[in-house]
Amino acid sequence: MKNALSFYRKRIEKYNHLLNAFLHFPEGTGSDDYEDGFPFALKDNILALGTKTTCASKILKEYRSPYDATVSERLRSCGGIILGKTNLDEFAMGSSTENSAFGPSKNPWDLARIPGGSSGGSAAAVAAGLSPFALGSDTGGSVRQPAAMCGIVGFKPTYGLVSRYGLVAFASSLDQIGPMTRCSQDATDVMAMIAGQDPMDSTSVENPIYFDRVLEGNLKGLKVAVPLEMLNYPGLEDGVKSSFLSMVEKLRESGVTVDDISVPSVRYAVATYYLIAPAEASSNLSRYDGVKYGSRQSKGNYDEMVNSNRDTGFGDEVKRRILLGTFTLSAAYYDAYYRKALKTRRLMARELNSVLKDYDYILNPASPILAPKIGEISDPLSYYLMDIYTIPANIAGLPSVSVPIDPVAGLPVGILLTGRRFSDFDLLDKASGIERLSSAFENGLSKIPERWLE
């Protein structure tokens, strides 16, 4: 067999212009084609020496990574070779890659549709077989939602399990790096390489989980809860719902207890998230002033220069969230918004943890809709509201995985399994059980659309 690296390089060369999954490639690409090692793709908000890190933003268009993110360093030390950096919504803010300053990525199942986001480039690359796996980042569903829309496995680990050092911060208390793969076993294998405490990230935790194991996927005897607030969400498309319910039936047949339960605070998930995440983002993005690095307009005095750098450097969605966060953190509104959101966050975490005392996992669709057409949804609030399924895991720091189930009209659908903190390995193990029941898999791997198999 040909060397894996050149195999994927050739596929990228052939197909990337159709998908816009990769934004750019490491310096000196091609010279290492016959190196041993395993290739992978990296979301372009994760730093790696020898690559630019643009965050799909004009303000970091020419920014060259001055150091390796901990995940990049760990994967490289295990033999990983970076194929390229993948597209995303600017600074990971969005659910479609339409907010990328470098154009949206396309969904490999239908090029007229979005791949989801923000890790849409990573999802498209893996789903079209341009990379065996990719890393994404998940702040409110940015790994799991595009995985669902592109028909691959997307895993968000327990908060603190994977170091954030070198991940460009969006909302620090919610961000988590996770693998995007074609099966749960691959996700587990990637976790074996990237998980573990990092002295460079004070929020990383000691890893009590041994990932270097083979998944068994035995579902018998499991107790799973489906929150009614999610199942009855008015935006849930019929097709997605029936695919979900048919998997629930298959699970029951496999000896799983599935109960409908209520998690009342989930109704506030989106509101809570859109107070906390923009608040942190407004502060995290203050460093992009064009003074030390980044694109810079030379005009006027300092204030004028910074205003102009940020005005021309950031896109609309980023500006919207910075404004929102700046407002909710202001002294006059802090108590009414930010402090209240922190309270709701604690309440929601308590409720979810209490459900997870009685049940092994929480189950719901990963996205209420199939991948929409590019440009179809123009109102940002519609996108915000769709995050209801993925946000709770970020709010409570829980591990959560999206697995492809029966497609609807040729478009992928994902089911979301969320577990207790540090149940990451078991969660992936059960996800592999779901894979065996899912028509989206073939020979243990998620299917790749025909057209990319020529």
Binding site: L60, L167, A169, R287, N301
Partner: protein
Amino acid sequence: MYTTIIGLEIHAQLQTSTKAFCGCRADVFELEPNTAICPVCTGQPGALPVLNQQVVDFAIMAGLAMNCSLRERSVFDRKNYFYPDLPKGYQITQYFYPIAEEGHLRLETGESSKTVRIRRIHIEEDAGKMVHQGTDSITGSSGSYLDLNRCGVPLIEIVTEPDLSTPYEARVFMELLRDTLRAIGVCSGDMEKGALRCDANISLKDEKTGKSSNRVEIKNINSFKFVEKALESEQLRIADHLNRGENVAKETRSWDFATKETYSMRSKEEENDYRYFPEPDLPVLLVKGERIAYLRENLPELPWEKIARFKEQYGLPTYDAGVLASDSAIASYFEIAAEITGKPKDCSNWIMGDIMRLMNERNLTIGELGLAPEYLKELFSMIDSGRISKKIARDILPEVIDRKLSPAAIVKEHGFEQINDDNAIEKAIRQAMEENPHAVKQFREGKEGVLGYFVGAVMKATRGKANPGRANEIARRLLEG
């Protein structure tokens, strides 16, 4: 009559080996610009802070020295504002839950003493430095350069209650604070190098009407002398306004040491909304009670404890004890010298006199001056035995230091032994009496003071080597004839 109300906010750089949140060295004062920087302290995308535990220990020690209550659970916050010297666009500080609160220091101003309450002490990081072209500030400069070495250097901010009532008290308080921070080894205390910085809040209250002026904040005070000068100048300015029936603007002013005046920087209305919120990149700071107890037990001797001990143990007057205790190197030199010579008061006199004068003249620390206490002992014993006069001892001190040679050897080399030979002294006095019969007459008419003239003449004739006691005695005998 007006009462003055002053409160201080002091920033002290901590003398840790590395910065507050990264591994860069923290002693950056004399380094080439931008040579002690890394992805963390320059705010590169994706970089994260990691708290230096030595910073926590130092802040706790400062809290203990100032009798604060310490939080076992404190939190870091972000203070958000844009400025070129702040690479992250926010400063990591402790706003909502500082590590230390509600302390006090006892302030002795010589004539009186009072308690100054400490409101809080919190940990934060320093910003970088800017060099402007053409002007002193960013406004109107044709270009500005950034040195990010200082970014992330650990600071503690100490905030007092408004318990100070004169500019002089404020200065003495700053000196006490410097001595305290130095004694526990957490800060160099050099205001001139920016290691200790002071912002002062001042307002005046009309005793008759009970009305208070607006509060004015003065920034950029960079020496102990200027703490007093800036507040004096501001005190006058506010009183002047009040006398005219006006109030001063509620504003922030800057001290200009060239004009010896303050000038307006910005009004309070123009101040930033810093949008404080808990720093999500750092966990809650938990300090174990055992750690606090350990630091408390091992806290170095504090200035006022040392003063009390010097008075008690060495029988020194308060003034001497205060001077010696204010510098830990001098204090320990004194203790060694007192031990070796067995003469604490003589040591104190010599240290506060000639030794500190030489230190100042040569701009050296006591250690750099390099006077072995054994040589002091030799000087003292030569004086006591009458071998040399005190004056000769003082005269040869610089040579002892410069040549690192024993005082006895120097005395011998120069023939500086004291003349105790009565005959030689008598001869010199008789010669002086012959040369100045008028003075002899004056003495005999009752002008006692003239005696000094004859002793002086002896000293001159013997180049200062005559035993002054003997010269005095013999002169009196011969003159009384």
